[in-house]
Structures are given as structure tokens and as C-alpha cells.
């Protein structure tokens, strides 16, 4: 009964490839997020969606494109992968958009670009 699930868990790919990461939450939450955690463990928000609508779009290269087909899913597509994209990508969800709504994180997708 995983609350926030991500696939794949590991992703190893070559530079220049296009890849997608999928996220699903079964908590009935309205808000979903994508975070990037670099090798130094720094956690940085990339995008946030509320009821399928984009509400946060940080300074992220436009090679990264999120898509929310419905409230329970938020996918991340990355074009033309670069070495610097290697990181752990976390999906999270919360009941609402305000910070005091607890964010529930998925297990992460470990992306390695060779």
C-alpha cells in the first residue's frame, strides 16, 4: 500500500537520450511535486501541480517537462539528458498547496547519465 510510488527506481542512460519518470499517489491529495536531490543531498524543488495545474515552475532547463494526466499522477520527461542531470529525483504529494500541509515523498528515482 505505497502512498507515493515512483518508477523506475533506478535509471542508467546515455547522454543525449530522452527518459521519463512516473509518479503516482494513492492518498487522494491535490498537490504533487518534483524535487531534485544532488550528490551533496541538497533538495531543490523543480515543479508543483495542484489539481493538474502547474503552480510552481522553478528555474529548470526546458528539457524538463512535467505532465499531470490526473490528480494522482505526475510524470517527468527529460529530453537530451546531460551528465549534470544525474541525481535522485523525488516525487511528493500533499493535501493542499500551503507549506504546513505535510509533504509525503516517494522512494526516489536514481538517475545516472553516462
Amino acid at each position: 500500500d505505497t502512498a507515493v510510488s515512483q518508477t523506475p527506481k533506478y535509471l542508467v542512460t546515455q547522454m543525449g537520450n530522452d527518459k521519463s519518470i512516473k509518479c503516482e499517489q494513492n492518498l487522494g491529495h491535490d498537490t504533487m511535486y518534483w524535487y531534485k536531490q544532488d550528490s551533496k543531498k541538497f533538495l531543490k524543488i523543480m515543479f508543483s501541480y495542484n489539481n493538474k495545474e502547474l503552480i510552481i515552475n522553478e528555474t529548470v532547463p526546458n528539457r524538463f517537462s512535467p505532465k499531470s494526466p490526473d490528480k494522482a499522477h505526475l510524470n517527468l520527461h527529460i529530453n537530451s539528458l546531460e551528465l549534470g542531470d544525474s541525481a535522485v529525483y523525488f516525487c511528493a504529494s500533499s493535501r493542499g498547496t500551503v507549506p504546513q500541509e505535510t509533504q509525503y515523498f516517494g522512494p526516489g528515482t536514481r538517475l545516472l547519465v553516462l
Binding site: K40, K41, F42, K44, S48, V98, P99, Q103, F105
Partner: protein, 112 residues
Amino acid sequence: QQQVKQSPQSLIVQKGGISIINCAYENTAFDYFPWYQQFPGKGPALLIAIRPDVSEKKEGRFTISFNKSAKQFSLHIMDSQPGDSATYFCAAGLASGSRLTFGEGTQLTVNP
């Protein structure tokens, strides 16, 4: 622009000791301060949170101390246990806003 600064980067404590992690923020409008705990290979999970109307919040062995005038808050872990070994993130946000700003993280190791 780093709005939440966390220290130390890493911390080693003996079992039974007190672990203290500090955070400082810049934006005086922040009014929600959570701490998240992340075990290796897992996503972060909310540990404890505080609003600025109180100076301290305690949940079990975990206590947040908050100093509004100094724009600082800290996490104290009493009677630290090896199972507390994890990375801890402080964060800050506006209750009316839409995002959390995370600190850089502290890797805590509790030796048996």
C-alpha cells in the same frame, strides 16, 4: 539564493548523547518551520514542525527550539540512538505560500 542555512553538514554523536542541528533563515515572513528526516535510500519524511507563535515544541525525544528575533531554529534529539542515523533537513515556508525552502541537510551518525 540560499534562504535557509543549516549546520553542521555532518554530525557524529555517541549513543545516549544529544544531537543538535541548527538552521537560520533570512525571510522574516516565513511562518512555518518543519524538519524532515531521510534514511538512506528513502524519501524524506516529516519529523516535527513548529509555528513562530511558540518557542519550543517537543515530540518524544525530538524538540524544536525557535528564536524569532535571531531568525534561528534548531532540532534537538535527546538520548540519540543508532536508529536516528539519517539525514535531517530543516525547511521554512510561508503559511500562505505554496512551497518549502529546504536547508542543505545534516548527516547524523549515532555510534553504538
